[in-house]
Amino acid sequence: MTAIIRVEQLKKSFIRGEQEITVLANMNLEIEQGSFVVVVGPSGCGKSTLLNIIAGLLPANAGHVYYKEHAMVDTHSEVGYLTQKDTLMPWRTVERNIKMPLEIRGVNKEERQRKARELIASVGLKGFEKHYPHELSGGMLRRACLARMLSTSPETLLMDEPFGALDAQLRMELQTELLRLWLGSNRSVLFITHDIEEAIVLGDRVVVLGTEGRIILDENIELPRPRDAVTIRFQPEFAQVHHRLWSALTEARKPQEVSA
């Protein structure tokens, strides 16, 4: 399989006060076309930075990101990015928020309406079209963000702890829905989380990051699809993978504690 995203020798550091903090040091990563890759790591390991660079929001200090073998310099219209925070425009209704990317692309009104209605139904927000973001619950906000991202049918999805702030039950519900939307869509997904279980439930492949973007473990998850976010936890393979990832994460944390 060919790589849709290729990260090569990526370097990024921030200046905080007098200190220079290296977040990513010569990081390499490849995401195959059509696969669901989950990156797990302790907080502060540079996961979000990595995603921001891949999305084209943040320039790297050195190294390259290739999308379909073309160097990425700016945001890319084929890539959708679901951030940790809800970034719906508070002055727009759910429906108008979902239409926003289409407006920017100059899609005509009828098409925008059709697409918005379809997406609202598919993420389960029917009846909330005219609501403003502040009137929605956390889970509904996530659904609206997801629908907005999908409105332009991006072929690649970047997701940064999208369900991190939700309660466990709602998280599983949304994980199941994400898998349902993804399966058979031939989309590539790069998903970031600090939750091992979430990584196993979702991913074809889980990459454990340590400090400075060091890859500690890169493992394929062989659990059969379609997966159910709730029942998959009771399979024996799940526990084995969980154990391996847990040890890797423990190792990932070690050098960070020394330096901190």
Binding site: T87, W91, M100, P101, I104, R105, Y132, H134, T152
Partner: protein, 265 residues
């Protein structure tokens, strides 16, 4: 629930009327105790207003003050908004100019009046400029704060949608700044009146400020109070206009802030 709300509204309106009546009664008593030369009776003010209305003085001078105020608002608000966006979007330029703007802002605008008389004479222009300068800073600072407070996450979100500068401006920065601009406008309206009236008080030729000054020189407190009543009404009406604008642009905020805090006593 709705009924309760309506009863509350009625109660508030009733309370306002009652308060107004109490103020007028207190006013009447004060005028009798202190003497009509300092505080005239409400009736005298009413009679003065009637006389001025009948001989055209009131309408003419009100028109003059309104024109100055509105023109002052127009120039002050438009330049304030433009400057606010400009400096908000060019952080370096903003940083360079910051101390100078704060310096200018700190000058009491009344102190500028003689200068403006020198430059623009005693006529309309001078009063408009005085009102506009006063208004400018209020709108400018509010707009600037608004632009600086725009949520970077929202800007990033539209960048990810492939937005160019124009879209970011129209779809994120302007809508999220609107509330701040309107706050500036709210604050600006009374100050536009202040600017215009100060100009009139100083140049003493026409307008409500002239009426105030002229009445004072004739020892007619009724004239002063009558002009003040008219000024209050103008300010109230202008604020009403901004309220309508405000409501139209911030429907999305409905129910976002509770109006009353629950604080145990």
């Amino acid at each position: 629930m709705r009924r309760l709300q309506r009863r509350r509204t009625l109660f508030i309106i009733g309370g306002r009327i009652l308060f107004l009546i109490l103020v007028i009664i207190a006013w009447q008593i004060a005028s009798e105790k202190i003497g009509p030369l300092f505080i005239c009776s409400p009736l005298a003010v009413f009679l003065q207003l009637r006389d001025w209305t009948l001989d055209g003085t009131l309408w003419y001078n009100t028109q003059v003050t309104l024109e100055e105020t509105l023109l002052g608002l127009l120039f002050g608000v438009s330049t304030g908004i433009v400057a606010g966006f400009l400096l908000g979007l060019q952080p370096i330029l903003g940083k360079i100019l910051d101390p100078f703007i704060i310096g200018l802002y700190s000058i009491p605008k009344v102190a500028l009046a003689p200068l403006f008389i020198l430059w623009f004479g005693f006529e309309l222009e001078m009063k408009v400029v005085l009102a506009a300068v006063t208004v400018f800073f209020l709108v400018f600072f509010n707009t600037l704060t608004g632009v600086r407070e725009v949520d970077q996450n929202l800007v990033d979100a539209v960048r990810l949608m492939g937005a160019k500068r124009r879209d970011i401006m129209l779809k994120v920065i302007i809508p999220s700044t609107t509330g701040y601009v309107l706050t500036g406008l709210h604050m600006a309206i009374p100050y536009a009146l202040v600017g215009a009236v100060i100009g009139e008080v100083i140049s003493v030729n026409r307008g409500l400020g002239y009426l105030i000054n002229n009445s004072a020189s004739q020892f007619s407190p009724a004239g002063i109070f009558a002009a003040l009543v008219v000024l209050t009404i103008i300010a109230g009406l202008l604020n009403g206009v901004v309220d309508v604008l405000d409501r139209a642009t911030s429907r999305w905020k409905a129910g976002m802030h509770t109006t009353s805090k629950i604080i145990p006593l």
